[in-house]
């Protein structure tokens, strides 16, 4: 089977043909791959190089923990990759962005208002949680299309707080971006 695997801005083509060989971007490796009896721990000997990682699936993303670092990995087989390509949803970075609450808490302040231009890094929401005021910032330049909450409101984890649109796109059509 052939897979297209993305980590951050890196994409790899990985072919798994036999039990003990893989091709990574065309290069062949001997593998000895073993789940461990310890939960989601996996051990891989890759040409005798030993790799250990925790691998868990979370909302269509594979989270991989290796030596303290957590990686978010997208794995698509050939069919899924082609379909995604046809739909144009491979690695989107433009379009609208929702600012969502990373945890339950109380909105302390909303320093932006609808229609306002924001730059990447601007404070958009101040959320109190875990006994701290946390600042949620704009992930890119844009225009504040909607503000769904106001100061004093309690919010749940993953609740949408603010919608930031493409500065060039027209207001109500941004859903199609």
């Amino acid at each position: 089977m052939k897979y297209f695997t993305t980590v951050g801005d890196q994409q790899y083509t990985i072919e798994i043909d036999h039990d003990n060989k893989i091709l990574v971007n065309g290069e062949r490796y001997d593998i000895d791959f073993q789940p461990s009896p310890e939960g989601s721990v996996y051990s891989l000997l890759l040409n005798n190089r030993s790799l250990e990682g925790l691998v868990e699936e979370r909302e269509d993303t594979w989270e991989v923990l290796i030596r303290g670092e957590l990686y978010e990995v997208q794995v698509q087989d050939e069919r899924a990759f082609r379909l995604a390509k046809a739909r144009g949803t491979v690695a989107t970075v433009s379009g609208d962005v929702n600012i969502i609450s990373p945890m339950p808490g109380i909105i302390v302040a909303v320093p932006v208002s609808e229609g306002e231009h924001v730059s990447k890094g601007d404070k958009v929401i101040i959320l109190e949680s875990m006994k701290m005021e946390n600042e949620l910032r704009a992930p890119r330049d844009g225009v504040v299309r909607r503000v769904f909450v106001q100061a004093g409101a309690g919010v749940e984890k993953n609740q949408t707080l603010v919608l930031i649109g493409d500065p060039d796109a027209q207001g109500e059509e941004s859903d199609e971006a």
Partner: protein, 506 residues
């Protein structure tokens, strides 16, 4: 001496008025001394480690601390109901509330901490400044007590910028705001007051000059009821973000034996000024010329006490319990020897790659590093739920080495071994710091993390490996899934239960 508020008593059962890693720390010290333990828990903590490992446990209310861990009357009631004879407050929550210490005394319970008056004086940062200043301790320039906003804004012109707005009742960085120019002052005072009111129910604030390039260095003290006060050397806690300490070490890179002695003597004098008893810490700022200034006193156990324990060999929590039982200190100043080097990394549930945003959720895996020179203090286990109700610290990872560089190398090894999954952690932050040239050469101050340390530079080195592992797991699960159509194939449901599957492979 003004220690008449302390009742020495050889107590045998103690209530731990706290949760998390510090509840476990106190529980272990008690069990090692043969003291029976009583835990308290909110709805969020029924499964917490301190509840399961204590001898007794009592439910006290809903998850928010104000409805449970901050309920003085309820906690005193549980103490009496359980027959506890003493109370250890840990840090945070009620640890520095004079009224809690008083309530314990009124109920005939030993409060494992200082006299009520010492808590009260040192708890109000402005009174504390006046008190130690009178005892000859150098303090950071700042405002007098009790000014309103207008007077504060006026005073700021004399103090000069940058300066800090600080809550009088503050601690742990709460209700504190740095201000770099006069235009920001009013907003910062408002924010600090808001945070202080929420955290401490008191919105009094004051201003203090911000010493540029200063380091945060503190002295650990032990004092018994007979008036013996000794210090256990210093800890450096300059690596902070928004006044939250992240990494602490003992000794400090910049403190030599002479400075240690000077700071120790001044710290003992500050403690003596309030007739201090039990463990306490004097925090100082040390400027580039090694002048040091009193910052505040923490009248309780500190989060970072383990680094001192590792270099002195002294168990500070056991000493607290002994002191509260009325025992004299077993050692004097000359017996205190520091040897080797210890570093503590606070492992928090937060995302270092995304502005350190806290992360909540269920811990799906937790394996602690172990082996030589590694200590972990934690209350976290697989299945533990990180909730938004309490602070985000999951554990303290402490490493010892014969030298600082050995401690750093060991810390790197331990950070690599540590596995926590289910929430994001700041382990990569610590790894990046342990690789940082400035950290390795001791070139940092309290502004270092925020101003000259960026995670953007970090290259996470295992992207390819992560890609391969995820692909192999996805492939294997896909293969499994495609077998599910075969009827009667029982093994597919046991995918995670490797035992059987593994045996088939052999």
């Amino acid at each position: 001496m003004n220690t008449d508020t302390l009742i020495p008593k050889n107590f045998n059962k103690l209530l731990i008025a706290n949760r998390g890693e510090i509840a476990m720390r106190i529980l272990r010290a008690c069990h090692e001394l043969g003291i029976r333990t009583v835990a308290i828990f909110s709805d969020a903590d029924r499964n917490a480690m301190h509840v399961r490992q204590a001898h007794e446990a009592y439910y006290i209310g809903p998850p928010p601390a104000r409805d449970s861990y901050l309920l003085i009357d309820k906690i005193i009631e549980v103490a009496k109901q359980s027959g506890a004879e003493a109370v250890h407050p840990g840090y945070g929550f009620l640890a520095e509330r004079a009224e809690f210490a008083q309530a314990c005394l009124d109920a005939g319970l030993v409060f494992v901490g200082p006299p009520v008056n010492a808590i009260r004086v040192m708890g109000d940062k402005q009174t504390a400044r006046q008190t130690v200043k009178a005892a000859g301790v150098p303090i950071v320039p700042g405002t007098e007590p009790g000014l309103d906003d207008a007077a504060l804004i006026q005073a700021a012109e004399d103090i000069g910028y940058p300066l800090l707005v600080k809550a009088s009742a503050g601690g742990g960085g709460k209700g504190m705001r740095p201000v770099h120019k006069s235009a920001d002052l009013a907003d910062s005072i408002a924010a600090a007051r808001r945070e202080a009111m929420a955290a401490f129910g008191d919105d009094t604030v004051y201003l203090e000059k911000m010493l540029v390039g200063a380091r945060h260095i503190e002295i650990q003290l032990l004092a018994d009821m007979d008036g013996n006060i000794i210090h256990l050397g210093e800890r450096e806690c300059s690596l902070q973000r928004r006044h939250q300490k992240l990494i602490e070490e003992s000794p400090s890179y910049v403190v030599d034996e002479k400075l240690r002695q000077q700071m120790g003597e001044v710290a003992v004098a500050a403690a003596r000024a309030v007739d201090y008893v039990n463990a306490g810490t004097i925090e100082f700022l040390v400027d580039r010329d090694k002048n040091f200034y009193f910052l505040e006193m923490n009248t309780r156990l500190q989060v970072e006490h383990p680094v001192t324990e590792l270099v002195t060999g002294i168990d500070i929590v056991q000493e607290q319990l002994r002191i509260s039982r009325g025992r004299r200190l077993r050692i004097n100043q000359a017996d205190v020897k520091m040897s080797g080097w210890a570093i503590e990394c606070r492992i928090n549930a937060e995302d270092p790659y995304n502005n350190y945003l806290p992360s909540t959720g269920q811990i799906t895996a937790s394996r602690l590093p172990t082996g030589p020179g590694v200590r972990v203090d934690t209350g976290v286990f697989p299945g533990y739920e990180v909730t938004p109700y309490y602070d985000s610290m999951l554990s303290k990872l402490v490493c010892y080495g014969e030298t600082r560089s050995e401690a750093v190398l060991r810390m790197r090894r331990a950070l690599e071994e540590y596995r926590i999954m289910g929430v994001k952690t700041n382990i990569p932050f610590h790894q990046h710091m342990m690789d940082s040239h400035r950290f390795l050469t001791g070139q940092f101050d309290t502004s270092f993390v925020e101003e000259r340390f960026s995670m953007d530079e970090r290259e996470a080195p295992h992207q390819l490996d992560a890609a391969i592992l995820a692909t192999l797991v996805a492939h294997q699960q896909g293969q499994k899934a495609s077998q599910i159509v075969a009827p009667g194939d029982r093994d597919t449901s046991n995918w995670k239960w490797l035992g059987r599957w593994e045996r088939l492979q052999k």
